[in-house]
Subunit: 213 residues, 2 copies
């Protein structure tokens, strides 16, 4: 079997993995939140925890070729973004509470516009979707949406960034911004799925292509 | 679009949905557990919570044609099984803590060999894998394992039950039992994935077939 998780180190940018998922959390808290209420007062942080887990974990392993950026838009100090890099992350397990704790820790750090390391592989910055898009300028950009082209008919390049919304979806403004830069709009299912489910299916499609090469 | 979630009511058995997922939790607690430690002292209950969520939820909806049975083998009173039926379930959200609370409640009930209703759509019984297999005798039985036939090459019948293990996998004994009754062994990915990820991919394959019909 080919070495699926090999990663070419690039020094030019923090964001170097082959697959990046960017998820907007419209209501997700931007300061430390209650770990016992991820789905409530933390602003559906549970969804973002699952997106991180599904981006990074396989059975007994981490996808070293993947990263995830969650863009937090909730109170009290939006926007903030948290990035988790598969090739660097340590001490993370796939359950929501563990990942919630790691995000919570990142949000306790005072940050400016540049990424600051919180724990191994976890970075936080006062970045909004626009900044994240700018940072991913070398990536093929794909907006995941029900109305898009079927993923099975698409051939992706070597470095792809996928953009998706939480339970609320993307605002008109965010959608306009992404559409102005996106290379394509892609659908993963005939049904409307949850964000983390979309990530699982995207990975599966890319895993299949990669191993068929 | 066809009515994907229509379900023909059958009175003969509690297990009537078109897709059933059966997951064995080798260490999962069989009495009420600490909701703050699903991944630890509850015996990787987080995995089973995710399997329930991924069986039942899509974006803003429940898969009424699906059900999930988790077989709990942990201390102090194994075995027990908890079944969640998509067409009946209410007051459940997809986060691990909410689902953990619902399992916890089911485990607080004194049970014998027959299913007892705990909350809407949630049943509990002193059933082991063998009993569950017996109950699913009218279903096409599929064992999900890495070495199996590629799911994209398989045509399933109208009622299918999928069997899978948690992070430990299935014991030799469980595997023998399932293999003695399984119609086929199927693989969903070239990689070894987590149980809940397998469920997402199985659903996606079946959704696509159903909507292409």
């Amino acid at each position: 079997m080919r070495e699926v998780y090999a990663k070419e180190e690039e020094k030019t940018s923090r964001v170097t993995p082959e697959r990046v998922f960017v998820v907007v959390g419209n209501k997700a808290k931007t300061e430390p939140f209650n770990l016992n209420d991820l789905a409530g007062s933390a602003g559906r942080m549970d969804i973002l925890c699952r997106c991180i887990a599904q981006t990074l974990f396989i059975s007994h392993g981490v996808r070293k070729n993947s990263a995830v950026i969650i863009v937090l838009r909730g109170e009290p100090s939006p926007p903030k973004s948290v990035m988790v890099v598969g090739s660097e992350v340590k001490y993370m397990s796939p359950d929501e509470r563990n990942i919630g704790g790691i995000i919570r820790k990142a949000l306790s750090i005072k940050v400016g516009k540049e990424w600051v390391k919180s724990t191994p592989g976890v970075y936080v910055a006062k970045k909004d979707l626009k900044d994240v898009l700018e940072e991913l300028k070398d990536y093929e950009k794909v907006y995941l949406k029900e109305c898009g082209e079927d993923i099975r008919k698409v051939k992706f390049g070597r470095k792809v960034a996928f953009f998706l919304g939480d339970h609320i979806g993307l605002s008109e403004e965010d959608e306009k911004l992404i559409m102005s830069l996106a290379d394509r709009v892609v659908s993963v299912s005939p049904l409307s799925l949850q964000a983390d489910q979309c990530i699982v299916i995207v990975h599966n499609e890319l895993d299949r292509v990669l191993l068929e090469e």
